[in-house]
């Protein structure tokens, strides 16, 4: 009896041990370290020196590249979310119709891009957007030529100049397009799952009461999918703010000409690994984290508790 009792008393701890041990070693300890590192200047992992708040004051006052990267990521996040999420919801609404044929087939096609992974998306779109001969670039060039023919007074370089270079000047639109391609179907799946839980009785009641499609959407659908909606918004926000692979491979590790493609995580990466200052990189990491924690808290407040 006593032996058996002891073994079951210890058992639960054995089951959670892999999580607890790996979490303490690879998350708690590094987090603690990064607090210390944020007040250090390092040269590679071997030499470090305490510098107080210098990293932060440098970051806020002396580092124009960092602020450029912040501006870039704000543009990217706003741009990608404003286009992607309504499109995802729109596709989900279409696919959620009762009379839709081959729902699985459409779902499969729209979902497939997420499997490619950001690295390979960056490589493929890198060629599609190639400055002089990429497919998208070519198509746009042909379009401007055609536009020229149709509208003779079309001013040269009004929308795109003739030496159209996505990868530098238009890095952000290119990335917004690439991530749209990759994520729109993924987000759609979440919306679709949420839409399938919308109460049919409520919908029919609203219809009987004479509510039009738009009113039904606003008063029945939107409240019902709100929890999933806020989740998707939060998920895309977290992903967007930490964007790295796409610009790193699309415009190069330095963010390209004019740093038009530099993001905060790329800046962190270059300071930490190219310049070897893990302390400064940790300071940047904490700034990013504080913003994301803030938004996560806000999201928690906004989505009503108890509905999910």
């Amino acid at each position: 009896m006593s032996k058996k009792f002891r073994s079951t008393a210890l058992m639960p701890y054995l089951f959670v041990a892999p999580f607890v041990v790996s979490f303490v070693v690879f998350v708690v300890y590094p987090l603690g370290q990064s607090v210390v590192l944020a007040f250090m200047q390092t040269n590679g992992p071997k030499t470090r020196q305490f510098v107080g708040l210098d990293n932060f004051s440098w970051l806020f006052t002396q580092d124009p590249d960092f602020w450029k990267s912040v501006l870039n990521i704000i543009l990217y996040t706003a741009g990608s979310m404003l286009i992607q999420l309504p499109a995802s919801l729109g596709l989900a609404l279409l696919l959620n119709r009762k009379d839709i044929k081959a729902r699985g087939f459409w779902r499969m096609i729209f979902f497939a891009p997420i499997l490619v992974g950001l690295v390979f998306v960056a490589i493929i779109f890198g060629l599609l957007f190639a400055p002089n001969n990429g497919l998208i670039n070519d198509a746009l060039y042909q379009a401007t030529l055609m536009f020229d023919r149709v509208i003779p007074f079309y001013p040269d370089g009004w929308v795109f100049d003739r030496e159209f270079r996505w990868t530098a000047e238009y890095a952000m639109p290119a990335m917004i397009i690439a991530s749209f391609w990759m994520y729109v179907g993924f987000n759609m799946i979440y919306f679709l799952a949420a839409l399938q839980n919308v109460s049919k009785d409520l919908m029919e009641a609203a219809e009987v009461d004479g509510a039009g499609p738009w009113q039904r959407f606003l008063n029945v659908t939107v409240p019902a999918i709100r929890p999933v909606g806020t989740f998707v918004v939060l998920l895309s926000f977290i992903g967007s703010v930490q964007l790295f692979e796409l610009p790193y491979l699309l415009v190069g590790p330095d963010g390209g000409p004019g740093k038009k493609g530099l993001t905060p995580v790329m800046h962190l990466f270059s300071k930490g690994f190219d310049a070897g200052d893990l302390g400064y990189a940790s300071a940047i990491g904490w700034l990013i984290a504080v913003v994301l924690f803030g938004v996560a808290l806000l999201q928690k407040k906004l989505s009503n508790p108890g509905t999910d």
């Binding site: 370290q33 992992p45 930490g272 990491g285």
Partner: protein, 290 residues
């Protein structure tokens, strides 16, 4: 309500248009991987025959040489391209088996036992979900340096032995599909805890096991920033890093880069076609009942 004639048009035209947009990059990838160096820029997708009009296919512009050269000529460090493929298979397989087992154990422990500290650990699991990856990049590298695990697969694998996200998913799965009464009955019959976990627990949450293996496999397969930071010897590069490297010395050879990309994502796409229901369930798991 009577249907208007244009309803199907309003539904299927946008769907088809969007499907086309989605498929264009895939088509571009497929065609490009089989184009010769000379034919690469003749025609957006397939090589176009001169004076043959826009649609006429120039069959001589297709080739397998991108693939054969990928295996024979490309060097990732000292090793051949095959090495990067094997690295990726090894890395993703180990990671998905170990990570799924660790996560399932954690979820099972939290869901099926009452013990001191359970509430606390559950809170920690939930809290861990909001820690941004960017915050751990620099100190994580520093820790691996201290542990002497830089440039090793152990350094890539060990941090993922029991991911919080997985522990959370498995906890939910066990709570909703494994009744405590069954556990009690098993215990009374003298079944050991490990045997119960493997023979009763895991089979009950089989869909979640499959889904999580897939998520982890895919995540590891396409992980770039981790190996980019931790792995320093080119021979140890997984495909994600190796294919990105192809763009350097072979930057003129677009066909070869596309061949490498196709080799890298082909297996994942094939797996998806086979298991697409599980895949979608897996990648969205935890969201709907989040």
């Amino acid at each position: 309500m009577r249907k208007k004639w244009w309803t199907p048009v309003a539904i299927y035209v946008p769907l088809a248009a969007f499907a086309l947009v989605t498929l264009v990059p895939f088509a571009y990838l497929m065609f490009s991987a089989f184009k010769t160096k000379e034919a690469f820029f003749s025609g957006p997708f397939w090589p176009v025959e001169e004076d043959g009009g826009w649609w006429a296919v120039d069959w001589s512009g297709f080739t397998f040489t991108n693939f054969t050269r990928l295996w024979s000529e490309v060097k990732i460090g000292e090793a051949s391209f095959m090495r990067a493929v094997l690295n990726s298979f090894f890395f993703a397989s180990v990671m998905s088996v170990v990570g799924t087992l660790g996560a399932a154990m954690g979820g099972y422990g939290l869901a099926m036992f009452k013990f001191k500290g359970r509430e606390f650990i559950t809170t920690v699991v939930l809290g861990a979900l909001v820690i941004p990856g960017a915050l751990l990049i620099a100190p994580g590298y520093f820790l691996l340096f201290q542990l002497g695990l830089l440039d090793s697969y152990a350094g890539l694998i060990l941090p993922g032995v029991a991911p919080a996200f997985g522990v959370y998913l498995f906890r939910q799965a066990f709570i909703s599909s494994l009744p405590h009464e069954m556990m009690e009955a098993g215990r009374i019959d003298g079944c050991g805890e490990w045997r119960m976990f493997f023979q009763m627990g895991l089979p009950m949450v089989k869909p979640m096991v499959g889904a999580f293996v897939l998520i982890t496999y895919l995540g590891t397969w396409t992980n770039f920033i981790g190996p980019q930071i931790i792995i320093q010897t080119p021979e140890k590069y997984p495909l994600a890093v190796a294919v990105a490297q192809l763009r350097g010395p072979f930057s003129i050879e677009y066909g070869m880069i596309m061949a490498g990309t196709l080799v890298a994502i082909g297996p994942v796409l094939a797996l998806f076609l086979l298991l697409q229901k599980d895949f979608i369930a897996g990648l969205t798991a935890g969201a709907v009942k989040g």
